[in-house]
Symmetry: C2
């Protein structure tokens, strides 16, 4: 009798292991579906044959931005030999621009406003050295540039939110293969950040604590989803991962505002970021990916309950009808398994 | 002097025309960016060289579902000759399944629940006849099947939301080329539908009117974004289009619940749907696309302020870092221009 029950339990457990899991993002309230019944082994994801998108370095528009007709630099860093190492200039084909006023226009029941703002490109010098292959100080310089530009743009008229992001690979929107990031400063707050802000505020009200502090402390303690951590930053595969091998990086000390990062912290961030990105690069055979910073809006209000962080999204799946209809992403590997596999690459 | 002012005005107007537009979805509160500075002509989008994803009809898993090892049908329609014309069966590799209990499981600060539910495939018989090429009655039969399955699934335990969607093209997630739709019944409400529900409720509170009724009436009146309409349904490119050539189809009579559609209405819907999808097929040279139904949850609550509708999203752009960071999609054609181009195909 005892044996039968155990056998039944075992069968039930095995069956349960095949059942997928709906997981909720406790900050944004979003749901994801971890479909373990469709599970793949971690190394099944390393199958990328990258779209060759390099026209050749001689035709690269970012190799020599001045002669290829880019706009005038708004920031330039030089190395010890006086050569430029990083430069930032306005996008020649901006998604937003500062030529109009940010006033609401109504049409029947609808509202719009001119797409005012700033759209800049952050270019590092070496055409062939992607972020995943840079050393810590090179990566720190990129975050330095993000901060420099943020501090300038946040004071401009009509700028209430600044999006900082990076596309790696033609498959995920990088139309020019030379490594570059983008900064878009806009008058409206990112709807996704708004979801996180609302969730963080609600959590704070109920629990008198920052939801991201709770998350990072729990992750650091339990370790199973951690990719890498140092004293100041932690990289982990989020409990409610929207994509296989998604990695979040957050400061351990509570801070709503990315732009207040110190120089020492920047190097610590660069270490955690480098290790994580390089682990993704190795584990998944140089996959396309996007990363971006989620930080508090710069609209003059205070967001003491928010906690800035970076989200790295390797392009490991196609978001199809179900994801587009519901916003519930289906991921085919548990973040715990993904994190373990990423740790192996360190 | 007068001339100078006019010239200045003209220059200003020309410059303004280059400025992109931030448009808000008045139902969901979402923002999109119509980047006219990066505008393309409508026929620039018709460049699809579809990924050849057909292994050959002899290897098609949906050609003869019984012998290719699919699950037992839950619904089958036959034609006048007694041949099957449409069948619905459980997905062999379901994203959710009904083998576990839908109880919340906590892990530290997080929550999850087993991915319980139902995942079904709706297959039409002809391997080579995609939805865009079907006649009105064939399309009506597909919506008939959606309704039939909805009415059955909505009464199952733990089913609170039913996602009905269709992927056309490998690029947007159709792993099997044989025309098929999918139905996924889950215990949680679609976060995207939740946004629309909340927005519609808020709008109703402020304006004592359904936001979708206001929208469809305004569109029908002004005509400029209309693709096609009959007495019962209207197809239009939404004011805040997230993708070039996005089309929404909504009933003109207020109704929160797709599953309450009548047989007569289904034929009217099929007419508007067929015309729209065929226009997209012709205008964009058989592009990949997803479509899905947004209808009120079936969680036992009433949603009198909601208004069910279909959203068709042609795959005309890659959503990259900015879209992933902010949820603000950049579209490179105005919906007014897209609608005009689609109308030309009718």
């Amino acid at each position: 009798m005892q044996i039968n029950i155990n056998k039944k339990d075992k069968e039930k457990n095995e069956k349960d292991a095949q059942v997928s899991q709906l997981r909720q993002d406790i900050a944004s309230g979003d749901w994801v579906l971890i479909a373990t019944g469709r599970a793949k082994r971690p190394d099944d994801f390393a199958h990328f044959e990258r779209v060759k998108d390099d026209k050749g370095i001689d035709q690269c528009l970012f190799e020599d931005p001045e002669t290829s007709g880019q706009e005038k630099d708004v920031l330039i860093y030089t190395d010890n030999n006086g050569q430029w190492s990083l430069r930032v200039f306005p996008n020649k084909f901006p998604a937003v621009s500062d030529t109009a006023e940010a006033k609401a226009i109504s049409e029947g029941p609808y509202f719009s406003m001119p797409g005012v703002g700033f759209h800049e490109i952050v270019v590092t010098r070496d055409h062939f050295k992607q972020l995943a292959l840079m050393n810590v100080l090179e990566v720190a310089e990129v975050f330095d540039a993000f901060q420099d530009r943020y501090l300038d743009l946040m004071n401009k008229k009509n700028v209430n939110y600044i999006a900082i992001f990076h596309n790696h690979g033609k498959e995920v929107g990088a139309s020019i293969p030379h490594p570059h990031s983008q900064i878009i400063a806009i008058p409206v707050v990112s709807p996704y950040v708004k979801m996180e802000l609302d969730g963080a505020q609600l959590y704070h009200k109920s629990n008198h604590d920052c939801v991201y502090c709770v998350m990072t402390e729990y992750e650091s303690e339990t370790e199973k989803r951690v990719v890498f951590e140092n004293d100041d930053f932690i990289a982990f595969c989020p409990f409610a991962s929207r994509a296989a091998f998604e990695v979040w990086i957050a400061p351990k000390k509570h801070s709503p505002y990315f732009e207040r990062i110190t120089d020492t912290e920047k190097v610590k961030l660069a270490e955690v970021f480098s290790k994580s990105l390089n682990a993704i690069y190795t584990a998944l055979n140089d996959p396309p990916y996007n990363f971006y910073i989620h930080t508090a809006p710069c609209d003059g209000k205070d967001y003491p309950y928010f906690h800035w962080h970076i989200e790295i999204l390797p392009h490991t799946a196609t978001w199809a009808g179900f994801e587009l209809e519901t916003g519930i992403e289906i991921s085919t590997i548990q973040p715990e398994v993904a994190a373990k596999f990423l740790r192996k690459q360190l």
